[in-house]
């Protein structure tokens, strides 16, 4: 047999072997996955009603779930974690207690220092969704994790903990020139903290970073924080970098305080751009008739706003 014939025969053998292996793995995976999915579905059908019953009982016996092993054990944790995000109040607390008794939360805390980013991210996610007590310092430290996904999941989880003291840690992510977490994720987390975070957000309006001030103003506006109107008005008058965002935030806040603030801005600001935007905001509230000459002189946004009105 010549060398080239041998090479061809070898190539042929390798290709046929590879093809057989690929087909074999595909068929095996298909059959195995079908069986596993079926098994999981059957087990879930059995476990889910037991979990629901546990939530309905006055004094449930949590130890019933503690002796489970293997796939059944993993499914209990998964189903409980999935239910947690849909529940509030006592039901939620009961599921957190169940996961705690089963050791799932301790396992998650240990896994925060795992070398594998996917393991760290899952642990962060579980601690965030359960609002695990005392988890804030651990999660805050992971806001600077070396892996992007872990940082992002940690940001979301810090918001889910609902602890307003996390406000400054979240906003600090925007203070560095290299953005380690997308701004939208920080905003989402701040929205999640909700109204309890308002005092801290107002304090952050004085932050040295204009990105932080801008974000705090925006979130205050979306939260409809009437108590923030006064500091936002000051910001609009004195801080050129954030004036437009502060105005937009005031505009989003309903009520007489924000209307007064807009009127004050209209008379006190020296910026033509800001005054035009204030006029548009007042006009949307039906309080201002713009003279034709002023419409022509305003920027594009102003003209569009008048056109849409």
């Amino acid at each position: 047999m010549r060398g080239s014939d041998l090479l061809l025969a070898l190539t042929l053998g390798v290709l046929i072997g590879t093809l057989a292996a690929v087909i074999g793995v595909t068929v095996f995976h298909h059959v195995w996955t079908r069986r596993r999915n079926q098994q999981e579905a059957e087990l879930a059908e059995e476990i889910r009603p037991r979990l629901m019953e546990m939530l309905l009982e006055d004094e449930p016996d949590l130890s019933l779930f503690e002796t489970e092993q293997g796939l059944r054990s993993r499914l209990i944790d998964d189903l409980a974690a999935a239910l947690i995000s849909k529940l509030r109040g006592a039901d939620r607390q009961r599921l957190v207690l169940l996961l705690d008794r089963r050791g799932a939360l301790d396992r998650a805390r240990r896994r925060l220092s795992s070398r594998r980013p996917s393991v760290r991210a899952r642990a962060v996610q579980l601690l965030g969704s359960t609002g695990a007590p005392g988890a804030l310092p651990d999660l805050v430290s992971l806001l600077r994790d070396r892996n992007r996904t872990v940082r992002e999941v940690a940001t979301r989880s810090v918001g889910r903990l609902g602890d307003p003291s996390a406000t400054c840690f979240l906003l600090a992510l925007l203070a560095t020139p290299e953005r380690s977490v997308p701004e939208h994720l920080v905003r989402m987390a701040l929205f999640r903290l909700g109204r309890p975070a308002i005092p801290n957000l107002i304090r952050e309006l004085g932050h040295y970073s204009s990105d932080v001030r801008r974000c705090a103003a925006d979130v205050l506006g979306h939260l409809g924080a009437a108590e923030a109107v006064e500091p936002l008005t000051k910001l609009a008058l004195l801080d050129d970098d954030v004036a437009m965002e502060a105005l937009a935030a005031i505009d989003r806040i309903d009520g007489p305080t924000s209307a007064d603030a807009l009127r004050k801005l209209n008379t006190e600001t020296s910026s033509a751009e800001l005054r035009a935007a204030v006029a548009a905001a007042l006009e949307r509230r039906g309080e201002f008739e713009t003279p034709e000459s002023e419409v022509a002189a305003t920027p594009v946004e102003r003209v569009l706003a008048v056109g849409n009105g």
């Binding site: 042929l12 590879t18 690929v22 079908r34 996904t149 979301r156 905003r187 929205f191 979306h222």
Partner: protein, 488 residues
């Protein structure tokens, strides 16, 4: 003389063999890299849930743009599907591109249209006149634009772009439907990288054979015709795994016209789609790369494997031939139009990697394949070919391609498992064999034909392929919402 021909044929045979080993090896690397990326992405914890994207007040609004020319069979289902997408704020702009059937009448009957005034973005290049704009009384998110047909799909899309007002624009077709969360998945990509992301493409899959109810895919099944089944394998290999790999390498140059989402501001800067391009989707992506690099702006053009657009693929070889000739010609035109970018280091991986690959393997590959088969036949006719050797070489080349298709199906099985019925998986596997032993050679002929028509610069118009629609003609005419099975 015979000796010279023998020598030339020998050299050519070696060139063809090396070329195909190289092409299949590159593609195998792309498929495996794409597969690894897809499986990794599937297992990754998502930092933003889709519910959060939905509830977030700053999620960007989207204009869904649907050009429609004689789409009476699918337009009602398609528009319902687009309007029913789970998204906090989106509008649907349908362009009736001079339809001669009942496309507009059916929409009017179903959505109760009334004339309305809309402002037109003059920076978008629209060739044919816009006849009127209408808004639905049933659902104010639906706008219909009627215009004169200019012979190209891109002109219809441009008319919609000129009317679109939202910060993001999603381009699609009237014979396509999206997974319910498709727009949320795209928006999540924008939210995760808002400063740089200028465009996002999604996966295209064949809807033929699947059950569709009122624009909603009930059950994904493999198509019932072999022509469509072959395309399932092709779409998985090239439109899913190949594009994921190119996107990972930051060298994506094709985003399908059936599912591409771009910043409206950027499209305005570019003047919209090239109204004369046959492959207007690829041309747009290459132009985006050129524009962003020329202006020195940081940007990201990504391909996402998760959001899926289900589109009707040709069921007959005749229709498929038309489509593939058009694609080949379109690609040739794009590469010619942007020839200065090829091997130009100024355009980074696009100029040095992606465009040369498309030139040498996707475009000229058809000629090599076609001429290669012809050369072997000539060799046989002249008695110059060692028969046993030729057969073994052919088997090796075809087996290699078979392994490539098998790996593609394996990755689908490990990642999305859209086809859960074992029979579907089996049929797709058989189709992958048919693709290699016969279809591929015919395909090479069609592509060569398309390339020749591009070289001859014969007049080209976009011909709408015959559709079977999401429903039978009678059902569409009544615009009912019954569950039907495509091409069954």
């Amino acid at each position: 003389m015979v000796e010279i021909i023998r020598l030339l044929l020998g050299w050519f045979d070696q060139f063809v063999l090396i070329y195909f080993l190289l092409f299949n090896s590159i593609f195998l690397v792309l498929v495996v890299a794409g597969g690894v990326e897809v499986i990794r992405a599937r297992r990754q914890v998502q930092p933003i849930s889709l519910d959060e994207v939905f509830a977030y007040p700053l999620t960007p609004s989207i204009s869904v743009v649907v050009p429609a020319f004689n789409e009476e069979l699918s337009i009602i289902d398609s528009v319902h599907g687009m309007l029913n997408l789970r998204y906090p704020s989106h509008e649907v702009i349908v362009v009736d591109d001079g339809s001669t059937d009942r496309t507009f009448a059916l929409m009017d009957a179903e959505f109760d249209l009334e004339p309305c005034e809309v402002s037109i973005d003059e920076s978008i290049n629209v060739l044919a006149p816009i006849l009127g704009t209408y808004r639905s009384r049933v659902d104010s998110r639906l706008i219909v634009v009627r215009k004169v047909n200019a012979g190209t799909r891109s002109d219809a899309v441009n008319a919609a772009l000129a009317v679109a007002k939202q910060p993001l624009v999603c381009m699609t077709d009237a014979d396509s439907i999206f997974d319910p969360d498709a727009l949320l998945l795209v928006a999540r990509a924008y939210l995760r990288d808002p400063e740089r992301t200028v465009g996002v493409g999604g996966t295209i899959r064949a809807v033929n054979g699947s059950s569709v109810t009122r624009g909603y895919l009930e059950d994904a099944k493999a198509p019932t015709t072999w022509t469509a089944r072959i395309q399932v394998v092709e779409y998985l290999r090239s439109f899913l795994l190949g594009r994921v790999a190119w996107s990972r390498m930051k060298a994506l140059i094709i985003v399908s016209g059936a599912f591409g989402v771009y910043r409206r501001e950027l499209l305005s800067e570019l003047g919209g789609l090239d109204p004369e391009a046959l492959a207007e989707d690829a041309e747009l992506v290459v132009r985006v790369h050129k524009h962003m690099r020329d202006s020195g702006r940081e940007y990201r053009l990504a391909f996402l494997p998760d959001p899926v657009c289900w589109t009707e693929v040709p069921n007959s070889l005749k229709q498929l031939a038309k489509q593939r000739r058009r694609w080949s010609r379109g690609l040739a035109e794009v590469l010619w139009l942007h020839r200065r970018m090829i091997f130009n280091p100024r355009y980074g991986r696009i100029g040095m990697l992606a465009l040369p690959y498309y030139l040498f393997f996707e475009l000229l590959g058809a000629i090599v394949e076609f001429v290669g088969v012809a050369a072997v036949l000539l060799g046989f006719a002249l008695g110059l070919v060692n028969t046993s050797m030729a057969i073994i070489v052919a088997i090796v080349a075809l087996l290699y391609a078979t392994v490539l298709s098998a790996v593609t199906i394996l990755i689908e099985e490990f990642s999305y498992r859209r086809y859960t019925h074992p029979r579907d998986l089996f049929m797709v596997a058989i189709a992958s064999l048919i693709e290699i032993f016969g279809f591929r050679q015919i395909h090479a002929y069609w592509r060569t034909h398309g390339l020749i028509s591009a070289l001859r610069r014969t007049e080209s118009t976009w011909e709408k392929p015959d559709r079977e629609g999401f429903s039978s003609p009678g059902t569409a005419a009544r615009a009912t919402a019954s569950t039907v099975v495509l091409d069954a």
